[in-house]
Symmetry: D2
């Protein structure tokens, strides 16, 4: 990827594969004088699907930024039956954080936001516990303590939804939020809720994965970040990583080693999402890195 700081446009595309797609897209860009800084394509031969991420400088591009979508739709998206999104590098998505009691992923994301690594705004933090309010205050972020019980769950989710709307949130990150969201809530945010699960999925889905990993005697533990879907812990995987453990590691050691994995894997997944480098197709992700 280039060391460029100028404003760029980013296209994410998937469509039925056929000859000439790359030629058509690259002609569209070159005809208008677009200087491509990154172009990555992938063909799933088995499924017959074409995927592309193209990023080009707006400086010198003949079309005005707000005219690109319409021109692209007419000339390319419709003829090729594309599913597509257009982004600009200076968009600054608004990210909500959901947390429970564990602070490590929260601290890590806030630090990456403060140092400018994550080009997002973080307008609010929602939690089912009061514990992390001091962290939110330390970073000057609104904190909502919304306790969840089986009885109040539906009502709380409506409150959460209202908050996300009120704060004009683009996507949400479950930073070790230990509540299961309802199908209704998830449907309202397709490919816009990112979770971190503390195991190498599909191994040890569900509760207490470190206990299960210790019980099974694995020699490697992992963490998995994925988009949340209705199926618990079964959404499209964005990023995974692992680390070695031995017989000397008690469950508490797995928890400690796992924390580093969790925060790292979640941070990478959020970064990929913010950089518009992820595409979801048939419950899998195409990650353009």
């Amino acid at each position: 990827m280039s060391d460029t700081a100028s404003r760029t446009a980013i296209l994410l595309i998937h469509c039925p594969d056929r000859r000439g797609i790359v030629a058509a897209i690259s002609r569209f860009l070159s005809e208008h004088g677009g200087n491509i800084v990154d172009l990555d394509q992938h063909v799933d031969v088995e499924q017959g699907v074409f995927f592309m991420r193209a990023e080009w400088e707006l400086k010198g591009f003949a079309l005005p930024a707000d005219g690109i979508a319409e021109a692209f739709r007419r000339q390319l998206a419709e003829p090729f039956e594309m599913t597509w999104r257009l982004h600009f590098s200076d968009e600054r998505p608004r990210m909500a954080l959901f947390v429970s009691r564990l602070a490590h992923c929260l601290y890590d994301l806030l630090a990456r936001w403060q140092t400018g690594e994550l080009a997002v705004d973080i307008p609010l933090i929602i939690s089912n516990h009061p514990d992390l309010r001091p962290v939110a205050e330390r970073f000057g972020i609104d904190y909502y303590h919304l306790p969840v019980t089986p009885d109040t769950k539906a009502k709380v989710e409506r409150q959460q939804n209202d908050l996300l709307a009120e704060y004009r949130v683009d996507f949400a990150v479950l930073a070790r939020y230990m509540q299961i969201l309802s199908a209704d809530f998830i449907h309202a945010w397709p490919e816009r809720i990112i979770n971190i699960h503390h195991s190498f999925l599909p191994a040890f889905a569900g509760a207490r994965p470190y206990h299960a990993a210790h019980e099974r005697g694995v020699k490697i533990i992992g963490a998995t970040s994925h988009y949340v879907t209705e199926d618990l812990d079964a959404g499209p995987i964005i990023e995974q990583d692992v680390t070695r453990v031995t017989h000397r590691d008690a469950v508490s050691d797995l928890v400690r080693k796992g924390r580093d994995l969790e925060q790292l894997v979640l941070a990478r997944a959020v970064w990929l999402h913010v950089q518009r480098k992820t595409l979801v197709y048939q419950n899998r992700t195409v990650v353009f890195d």
Copy 2:
């Protein structure tokens, strides 16, 4: 581990944990003038179990090699209720290989045997297919083609058992042997059959793990070597390793990348077994490395 080539004795122990075990064992060794070259112990505090591997030079040790077991039993093993094994570094275990059609793990183990990395004898190779006979012949090893059908399985297992007895085999390695062994066969060889499974267990147990991994869209694949128990793919894990994959990898790429993992993980597990560095307890391994 030391760069020593002199003959050593190796003790593998587990027993209920209590105060003074280390003192008693190390006194036993120092009283007889044993020069310890490696001493590794572990206490499972939760289960209250003590584990140890001790290796010491026989040169200068006051007890004769064939008198150690009896002295150890009387002075230590019985008072401390130890489960234990005594080995000598110049033992050369006899290893049988079971294969089907895939050659990579077989070649890898044979190469390690030829270069002296694996201090074993390999008297025979057993297969349910004829394909790898030329490899066996190339290395001068007897090859038995014993095809397995549901009807002949019991009879073939008796033949296999007879061969293992006839060739005085100490342990067997399933180097991508694609047949499930019966409970009876497995019971006869406790902690003496090593398998390689082509996934990061417990994820993707069973058949066609690379297809399942591709379908699930994981970002990392793995391989697992374990002692074979009655429960398919659920025996005590000796070693695991993983490698990254991306959306660009077709199933055939996972198979290719996975081969390297399989042969490496299996080779390490066999090496640990041959070096007497593994202890099994409650379906987990203690690996002294």
Copy 3:
């Protein structure tokens, strides 16, 4: 390692190797009723040096905590010519942080301190730049801005030394502090200054390692945490880690990927130091993990 929370004593030892050391130490512990929770020893056969870390519960130990050192000295340390240190698990070392302009390692260490992962006190942060004062204030830690020029360097180091004394600091961490400390300063803090270098040492020592790595075209980059010695970037290595890069990664990508390595590797090194798991011998570390 055990899931125990009770108070423990920790002995770190090295001495000339001879027969009977383990027996003598373990007898010392068992005679006084010490319940060993962790015992790790290592013999450097080539150098003839014995290393040990022993941790045992003080509950039930016959010697009072403040009598252990004297008894150990008389019975063991002197006869065996040991270099040794005795620690207690409830000591809470006081850690000073030195920073320049980059915030990621600072944030990471502060988060680990806040969540209780690092059982230290952090009384002050020293910097040659004013930039990170807001971070210090956010966490309520005193911040000293001491700019360094070739002319003022000696004077500033005296100020730094006075601050470390005033705040009763036990050890210092250079969390991407971009100044070279003088030999005098370093001599005053042997094995008590931990640095993070942003390369896989000994490759790319010195300035601008990511540029050098990019120029050389390596496929893997790393980070190294080490105790600071007079020789720049040549002190005993505590921890290292690496990550893959490709031709697609510009220097700015190496910097971004490297940040995660830096903070992770530094955090692990600090944790090992705080847990009393490191021993330095002949410019190398023995890490008991």
Copy 4:
């Protein structure tokens, strides 16, 4: 990469970057009905260089295989000042192996050749020692023992060159060949000699890298495969990998662990070369994987 077995053409290109290159190339392919199965491009923005690897099916392509080069030269290579190579997937390059006394890399490459993973012919093995002749015989490959002394070096290199010519060799692999080739020899085989160095270059270049790594006390060791250039151990890196070591590892352990790295890294580099996935530019490689 696709699960396709049909015959493909592969283009490797680099040229000064300018707008419209991708459009021109993809139009060339689509105009003639080429079905692209893999397209990977990279722009080095700093250097202003464009790189591409394109692979397309010959089935249905309007140009005959032997007419592609001429058409491409005229329409694209000359106007865009491209440096380029055209390959076909059914070419089977002829690979010579140079070895000394260590067998592990040799065995590993021979096994990958036998199993079909490496689509090459291996007509001969050249060695400065007689030791590995039995391995060559086992696999039915001609073996030339050409001892090298300072006095005979020039003469031996002429013999080696003659052999490579006689056996119509396309590229050579130094599989732990412990002789330094002369500049003349190397110049005759640009980007066609692949070496494996047993360290994580640029750390520990030169002789005895495992001893140097042990002496320095690193926590990770590595291996590096690179194209051979006049500068010893400084050629363009194709692949690297690493593994963890601890204070417990003697030099002999580093050697053992390193062997696995060496054979794996070398095998990957050879595979990438054979798959036409490497491009060299300014002493670095672009690896299209």
